[in-house]
């Protein structure tokens, strides 16, 4: 922690960055902090409650952050995947951000929780994590904590979904999407949703009816998840923001697994790895594109 606070103070004092985006103690658990004054660097914390993916604040449509100047951002390995995604998709330049990565031993599901990490309290996204020691960084802090416990809730749910008949699966997702109120909190919280104009906001032509009916909700959620195929970094910010508690993370993971199977690609924290749906290859499995 001290290492993190000292580094943040130094980056600000040296003028290397104008803001350090990290975590601080808030009224309801840990929350994002925007440190612009080196004297305030002592507010920074890092522990298992640091659930939020702060890379979301680097998204260029967040103009209120851009105006602060160059940022340094505190990330876990999973969050670094989002930074790599933004670089890969030419949204930010590598040199425009200072990446302070912290070796991670898993996080809780909600930043306001204060429980010990166990197989029930740990986030489902930590299961099978291969980026506990990130590769994308300017500074890498902390010791590597021991292997975290595994929350198998999501993999069990995926196995259950796969055993369902198409009709059962349709019913399951209908039940989830019927609750959607089309507030678009999922989109706004997502680090990878950076379109200047979302297709859902387009009125001419109106691709998807804006009213929250089951039919149009399904269209919206399918469109979103397909636009995220091979791009989603599995940070679960969409699910955490959803006021209706829809299993958005499960949906995205389901598609991510399909992409992995078909394209042998997993969202990673190396910006040089080409996106699976953005490359041309003579080895492509589909005849029409060769």
């Amino acid at each position: 922690m001290k290492e993190l606070q000292e580094l943040a103070a130094k980056l600000l004092t040296d003028g290397a960055v104008q803001v350090v985006i990290g975590y601080e103690e808030g009224p309801r658990g840990v929350r994002p902090a925007f440190i612009t004054d080196p004297a305030q660097a002592g507010r920074l914390v890092f522990d298992a409650r640091c659930v939020q993916n702060l890379a979301t604040y680097l998204n260029p449509r967040r103009k209120h952050i851009v105006q602060l100047g160059k940022s340094a951002v505190v990330v876990k390995g999973c969050d670094a995947r989002a930074i790599a995604g933004l670089i890969r998709e030419r949204q930010i330049a590598r040199e425009s951000v200072v990446v302070i990565a912290v070796r991670c031993g898993g996080v809780l599901q909600r930043p306001a929780e204060n429980a010990a990490l166990n197989s029930e309290t740990i986030s489902v996204r930590c299961a099978g994590c291969d980026v506990r020691e990130p590769k994308l960084y300017d500074y890498l802090l902390g010791e590597l904590p021991p292997e975290p416990p595994v929350n198998a809730a999501r993999s069990e749910q995926i196995a259950k979904l796969e055993k369902m008949t198409p009709a059962e699966r349709r019913n399951f997702w209908n039940e989830e999407f019927s609750r959607c109120i089309r507030c678009y909190a999922c989109r706004e919280a997502c680090p990878m949703c950076f379109c200047v104009q979302c297709m859902a906001d387009k009125a001419e032509p109106q691709w998807i009816d804006p009213s929250p009916t089951l039919e149009s909700n399904r269209a919206w959620q399918m469109m979103r998840v397909l636009h995220q195929a091979g791009r989603c970094v599995d940070c679960l910010e969409c699910e955490r923001a959803c006021p209706e508690n829809i299993s958005l993370g499960l949906f995205s993971r389901y598609i991510a697994d399909a992409v992995e199977k078909r394209f042998e690609y997993k969202a990673c924290d190396d910006p040089a790895v080409a996106p699976p749906l953005g490359v041309f290859s003579t080895e492509d499995g589909e005849e029409f594109i060769r």
Partner: protein
């Protein structure tokens, strides 16, 4: 106002009779997707309700202003366009054990719904609904109803207010609607012990929320209006990621969008859907210009509308202190904390700010 004593059995019998008469009864129940959370949902019997556990995730708003509703349907015929409006009369419903803040919110929103235009769909449902509130004993650190001038024992917006006492409830009958609902239930006799118990419960509830935030002074709305360009707005909402989840769960956010949806080239429906000022599209002009360019400006709008525009127009704060926005916010924005900062600033810089402009 009259008072009655209702035993638990009396309340159960009331629910049973209403349900038998096909009146929809809505109460807090355990959420299907998360047993730690509550939702306001229709119940079949009092035993379905979960009382005194937690504030339901969403307010009562959706029972009066649904997330989507059809206003009219239209059809092109040889003679012209045929328009069918939806009926404004609603089915009777009873909301049981509402949180006092949620009941109060409806009265606050009534003002705008009856401003330059009377919203007949809203008032159709308001008139068909009887609200029985329950003294709140479930507040947490994000609650600040007392700062708004309400409280866990506020009867505002309620037809009946229940206070738990030994063996049942003290029922304070606030309106003729409440009188009609309870006339055959319980007894008009309230023992001195029950009376004392109810008063003690009220005092205890008030004490639990009183220190969460300082009361909002009357001059705060004018200060906000004069400090629209204060530099604080630029840095106040950095962690806000503009998701608008706050507006969805807010009992007083009432903005909506109206859209026509074609079912075919001949016919379609006109709907209204919830909308939120936290979205960039909310103020996007047809020209492409957006007067609220960044999230700082959109968040300022949220505070200004609730604590300055609405109070100046309707003499009401557009907030009940329920704390839902702070609980849902994925960015950790916290309204009592933000109001505290702004009120401190209003005290230290009472004059109009020079501002930095936008």
């Amino acid at each position: 106002m009259t008072q009655r004593f209702l035993s638990h059995a009396d309340l159960g019998a009331l629910v049973a009779e209403l349900v038998a008469a096909h009146t929809r009864v809505i109460a807090p129940v355990r959420a299907k997707d998360d047993a730690r959370q509550l939702d306001y949902l229709p119940i079949r019997a009092l035993a379905d309700a979960a009382l005194g556990v937690a504030l339901p995730r969403r307010s009562l708003k959706e029972f009066f202003l649904p997330p989507t509703e059809v206003l009219l349907s239209y059809r092109q015929t040889k003679e012209g366009v045929e328009i069918k409006e939806v009926p404004t009369q609603a089915q009777p419903q009873v909301i049981l054990c509402a949180s006092p803040c949620d009941a109060a919110a409806l009265e606050v929103v009534d003002k705008v719904m009856n401003w330059e235009y009377r919203d007949e769909l809203w008032f159709g449902r308001r008139e068909a609904t009887t609200i029985v509130s329950l003294l709140c004993s479930i507040m947490d650190s994000s609650c600040f109803c007392s700062a708004i001038g309400l409280g866990p024992d506020s009867s505002r917006g309620s037809d009946v207010l229940l206070t738990p006492v030994e063996g049942g409830y003290r029922a304070q009958v606030i309106t003729p609607k409440g009188e009609a609902l309870l006339k055959d239930y319980g007894s008009a006799e309230l023992s001195a012990a029950a009376e004392a118990g109810a008063e003690a419960a009220q005092l205890a509830a008030r004490a639990r929320v009183a220190n969460n935030a300082p009361a909002i002074p009357a001059e705060f709305s004018a200060w906000l209006a004069e400090n629209f360009d204060h530099p604080i707005w630029k840095t106040m909402a950095l962690r806000c990621n503009g998701c608008g989840a706050c507006a969805g769960v807010c009992p007083t956010c009432h903005c909506f969008d109206i859209v026509d949806e074609h079912e075919s080239s001949e016919q379609g429906v006109r709907r209204r859907n919830w909308d939120s000022c936290q979205m960039a599209k909310f103020t996007l002009h047809a020209s492409g210009h957006n007067p609220r360019q960044s999230q700082s400006e959109r968040f300022r709008q949220r505070i200004q509308h609730k604590f300055s525009v609405y109070p100046r127009r309707f003499d009401e704060i557009l907030c009940t202190g329920c704390g839902r926005c702070s609980r849902i916010c994925p960015g950790g924005m916290n309204l009592p904390e933000i109001l505290g900062e702004l009120m401190a600033l209003a005290k230290s810089e009472p004059e109009k700010s020079e501002g930095s402009g936008q």
